[in-house]
């Protein structure tokens, strides 16, 4: 799948997919990477070490710093794949150096699949189911 590079890097890992937007500030624990927003599709799950696939970001601009905190705590997602990148998440990925790609048809990716994110070229490849 061809998308758009937001921040550079190339990684392979397990996808964690949701159809809900994510607010990192208030919605994700900056120390553990757990999604804590009430009634969120991923509530209780950790984004740590996963290729996190979601439609878009929402909420306060302080969210950028939450991604940075996750990175410093070694709890950040391996990469971020979005349908539409929101500026809070974009800035978060840049300051934390998390590979990020958007303009991807995210409903073609399933949780648990092994995928490769080649952010330099904006390409997502499903390696195995």
């Amino acid at each position: 799948m061809q998308g758009r590079k937001i921040f550079r890097g190339k990684v392979t890992g397990e996808a964690l997919v949701t159809g809900d937007d994510i607010s990192f500030y208030g919605g994700c624990d900056p120390e553990t990477g757990e999604i804590v927003e009430k009634n969120h599709h991923l509530e209780g799950k950790s984004v740590s070490g996963k290729i996190l696939v979601f439609p878009s970001g929402k909420g306060s601009t302080v969210g950028s710093y939450v991604l940075y905190a996750l990175k410093k705590a070694n709890k950040a997602p391996l990469a971020i794949v979005n349908k539409t990148m929101d500026p809070v998440v974009a800035v978060g990925c840049i300051i934390s150096e998390i590979p990020a790609v958007d303009q991807i048809e995210i409903d073609k990716i399933k949780t648990g699949q092994k995928i490769e994110v080649d952010a330099d070229n904006g390409v997502i490849t499903i390696i195995e189911d």
Binding site: F7, V62, Y65, Y68, M85, A90, I95, D102
Partner: protein, 395 residues
């Protein structure tokens, strides 16, 4: 890539101007690409948010320290409120641990050349752009004031993107930097008598809630003071998603006038007030100065507190910018306020100070302060005029 960079901008992106500048340029170009900007433009003034250690935390401080290793501002850059009065924090009940971390945040900004004003009203103390000037400001209330009341051009920046603009002297040309995106989209006719800053806050709340992201054109308000426009700007940006408004006969921007009109009456205002007045709020905290109080407001408060004393069990914060506090000291206002047992707090405010759990109920003239008091600090709230707030304090 649609976004075209000048040779100098490309050098910044390639790291020839240092690490911090490179990171800053990465942020600016990424935002430019996301929003389809064709080029970057110079900015002449920056206001940075994300200063209180209560919001930033350790990771935020770490990021700022990293940027401060080789980052230097290229244009006039001022700072949002911190979590405490940088000098008199101790008597306001701030812990030494918090104070140490907060000082490190401000030091990191200062190292980068930021003028560490620590105020949400930079336009009152020396960072005042002019009509048509392109700037990059964070702090939603100041953004709204600059765009609407002054007629400067800025998007609503976040903390890191505002810092990025400061370190490169540039921003991407999209959104409210383009005249065509600043046109009014809905007309609101106000059919109510607005008397004080709290009324302007409430009308901002009503319009903010209704308008969402649509730019309002407001008629029916015949006059408004700077303080009232400051209150309105804060409120409309807190309760809605807009960063600009037009007020007929008061704001200077050119705009087309939308056909569709919505009416706002006294009963809408009353409903908004009822929403911010919690039942059974036990008021033990009174705060005036969100956004930061002007010297005129401080003079008014000092006059009312002169010779009175604050009721036991109540804490009163009048929050303002440090230069305004210095002026208040010179004028004797500070003495009148502090002798009554209230505090004139510089650099901080009731929304960003670490106050969670310290109070039960806040009375304020600010609709914005109510929003943060309830959400972040779990206080109950009541919104009143400044005069009523001070009466409550010495009752």
């Amino acid at each position: 890539m649609v976004l075209e960079l000048t040779p100098e901008e490309r050098e910044m992106l390639d790291g020839k101007h240092g690490k911090a500048t490179r990171k800053a340029m990465e942020i600016i170009t990424a935002l430019g690409e996301i929003y389809g900007a064709k080029r970057l433009i110079p900015v002449s003034s920056v206001q940075i948010a994300g200063v209180s250690y209560d919001n930033l935390g350790e990771a935020g401080l770490e990021y700022l320290s990293e940027m401060a290793e080789d980052g230097q501002t290229m244009v006039l850059t001022t700072l949002n409120p911190a979590g405490m009065d940088m000098l008199e924090w101790k008597k306001h009940g701030i812990s030494p641990d918090f104070a140490e971390m907060q000082q490190r945040v401000v030091d990191a900004f200062e190292k980068m050349g930021v003028v560490t004003t620590c105020t949400c009203t930079p336009y009152l103390i020396g960072n005042l752009p002019h009509y048509g000037e392109h700037i990059a400001w964070a702090e939603s209330s100041a953004v709204c004031f600059a765009n609407s009341v002054v007629g400067a051009f800025t998007n609503r920046e976040g903390g890191p993107s505002a810092l990025a603009a400061a370190l490169t002297g540039r921003t991407a040309e999209y959104g409210l930097h383009l005249e065509e995106n600043r046109m009014a989209q809905v007309k609101y006719e106000v059919r109510a008598d607005l008397k004080d800053t709290d009324d302007f806050g409430l009308i901002g709340q009503v319009i903010g809630n209704r308008t969402g992201k649509l730019i309002p054109y407001i008629i029916g308000i015949s006059k408004a003071s700077t303080e009232e426009l400051k209150s309105f700007s804060a409120s409309v940006a807190t309760y809605g998603g807009v960063a600009i408004f037009h007020m007929e006969g008061i704001t200077p921007n050119r705009t087309t006038v939308p056909e569709k009109t919505e009416i706002i009456t006294k009963s809408d205002l009353d409903a908004a007030r009822a929403q911010l007045d919690d039942e059974g709020a036990e008021i033990d905290f009174i705060s005036v100065g969100c956004p930061h109080a002007s010297i005129k407001e401080i003079a008014q408060v000092a006059e009312m507190l002169d010779g009175k004393s604050v009721t036991e069990g109540k804490t009163v914060w009048i929050t303002t910018a440090k230069p305004t506090k210095d002026l208040a000291i010179k004028m004797g206002y500070y003495d009148k306020i502090e002798k009554a047992g209230a505090f004139l707090v510089a650099d901080a405010c009731c929304a960003v100070a670490p106050l969670k759990g310290r109070f039960k109920g806040l009375m304020t003239d600010s609709a914005k302060a109510c929003f943060y008091a309830r959400g972040k600090n779990k206080f109950k709230t009541e919104i009143r005029t400044i005069e009523e707030c001070i009466k409550e304090a010495v009752r």
